[in-house]
Symmetry: C2
Subunit: 350 residues, 2 copies
């Protein structure tokens, strides 16, 4: 892993944020652990390097993880094409994070594509498939923005959780692409962003993106959201998703379930946005989704500063599950499941 | 304000934590903004110094604020007895924080007491009243512990929010006194403590107290609580309160309402503990309670470390309101309102 020039946001990209870009055998990834203070790109050249970047959340966001993993398989085949390399690359990437289904979906797509060609052509086939996935997710972002902005045309103030923008998915992202589109249409007055402890994807990344987009915003601690929702501080809550079960239950950043409960109690629409690559048709319900438990240090410290007595025991689930009953609509690139139920989800996939 | 020797936890106090103690014209207060890293006592000698300590949360917790304010009035009268001093002291103390009703209750009690005697006797009368309030709240803590532990005899694992122990109220505190009593009775297996952003009263103070008490505990980020409750990680949620309205609605540390929603959805008992001095009989419902909005810096930084882009706009409500319908029981020193409703609350006060 080498750090590169800060080209991720330069003129070549028209000033927009590019979290991930492939160029001549190198996957350049904006290191999201250092944002917003340092804009630095990592140069990744193997499946192991990509997996490591995903594991420590330098690359994050379910769709972006999928695209990065796809390139990771292609990079590894470029070093040493063959079925055993394919198995190794898939194994190391699938082990990097357990919850986002996009990771598995993308790796399997690239693997299947590579297996249809002779060994010398594997790397090229894998790269073509990774680039196809990348392009599809980029197009999906625009479609989600359009569908979501149509659904939420009346929303003047919205609340969002974690980061779901250009740093979480190709293009303008998922939930944040809807917010950006509402802003473009001139109807949005402001955004309330949760800080999203422990890793502060809201305070660090969403605030960074909203500031770049020129969208008025206010930051809150996560636990302030229910009281603000009860006071009708916003017209809608919009979040992303890490995995959607076949019945419409959604696994997403820890805290999403509490937001959904509070939105439901306040009668505020609760909208989930994500590409269909996030839907796990083979998973019947949210209770079957594996929830990643991350290290104690994320809770004990923030940016090196201790928050509690050293050695304090911690529980640190990275996600929680929101039951479909609490979700007003699931916005995808193929349309809206409203409300998300087995039949409306199935309709999106067929 | 001078810092004193770290005597608040020394042998004179039998090893237990003493957040506040009056001695010969000085109110010694453990500076809670520096715990658990620094155990330092502040020497407070005027109403202004006490108000300043309350305002910056060096002294916090509704019952402790009340006791400190009572001493604050007495200290000021000791410097210059008279009605105008009384008005000045009451004014500066009442302005220090708006939400906890104990502050007003204690100041009014001391004021009334001072007004019954000639000017030269005012300081002594005020001090006697402050000491009476202190003693009453100390006794109340033991009674709350007993009532609460009886109510929750079957609870093996509990969750708590913010800090409600010896640092929040005289004696063993409010909700944490119940937890300590359950531990003493040998039935408690462990506590899940929320970190309680922005000021981390859970991560800094509750963890500190639980460690001192030898009670097994795990720390979580605030937004992890709803998912853990849905998974039945605990048998009960126990919290304190900053003001209870006549109908049983409760204002407490921001995030309490979200915990109550999640506990209700999971069928987990949600118990509020506080002395009757926290009940505001003149306040008909929670919607009428003034919610303090604190500074942006509390959210933007933690212990000096920046968490977001400098200058980011913030909303920082210090409290929220939990409707009585979500509360299983209100435990006070005079008994239990179960559930808290206008009639059960009134019964405690008459």
């Amino acid at each position: 892993v080498r750090s590169g020039p800060p080209s991720a946001t330069d003129a070549r990209h028209g000033g927009s944020l590019v979290a991930l870009r492939y160029e001549d055998g190198t996957l350049w990834a904006l290191d999201q652990t250092e944002l917003p203070w340092v804009e630095r790109e990592l140069a990744l050249r193997s499946a192991g390097e990509v997996a490591e970047a995903i594991g420590r959340l330098a690359i994050r966001g379910a769709p972006l993880i999928g695209v990065a993993a796809a390139y990771g398989v292609a990079l590894e085949l470029g070093r040493d094409p063959g079925e055993s390399t394919l198995d190794y690359a898939a194994g190391v990437l699938l082990a990097s994070r357990p919850t986002a289904v996009n990771l598995r979906w993308a790796v399997e797509r690239v693997r299947a594509s590579a297996l249809t060609v002779p060994v010398p052509a594997m790397a090229a086939a894998a790269l073509a498939e990774a680039e196809a996935i990348h392009a599809e997710e980029l197009a999906a972002s625009d479609l989600m923005a359009e569908h979501g902005a149509g659904l939420l045309a009346g929303a003047r103030r919205v609340m969002t959780h974690c980061n779901t923008g250009a740093l979480a998915a190709p293009g303008r992202g998922t939930a944040l692409s809807v917010i950006a589109e509402l802003a473009t249409r001139g109807t949005l007055e402001g955004v309330i962003a949760t800080e999203s402890r422990p890793l502060l994807q809201g305070a660090r990344l969403t605030v960074y993106e909203l500031a770049r987009l020129g969208i008025p915003h206010e930051l809150i601690v996560d636990s302030a959201a229910p009281g603000l929702l009860a006071g009708r501080a916003v017209d809608a809550v919009i979040v992303g998703c890490d995995r959607v079960a076949a019945n419409g239950d959604v696994a997403n950043k820890v805290g999403t379930y509490g937001l959904a409960l509070a939105a439901s109690a306040a009668g505020v629409p609760f909208v989930v946005v994500g590409p269909t690559s996030t839907i796990d048709a083979g998973c019947p319900r949210g209770a079957e989704i594996e929830i990643e438990e991350r290290g104690a240090d994320e809770v004990q410290r923030v940016r090196g500063t201790e928050l509690t007595i050293r050695g304090t025991a911690v529980r640190n689930p990275a996600f929680d599950v929101t039951p479909a009953e609490l979700i007003s609509a699931l916005v995808t690139e193929r349309g809206i499941a409203r409300p998300p139920r087995p039949d409306t989800i199935q309709a999106l996939l067929s």
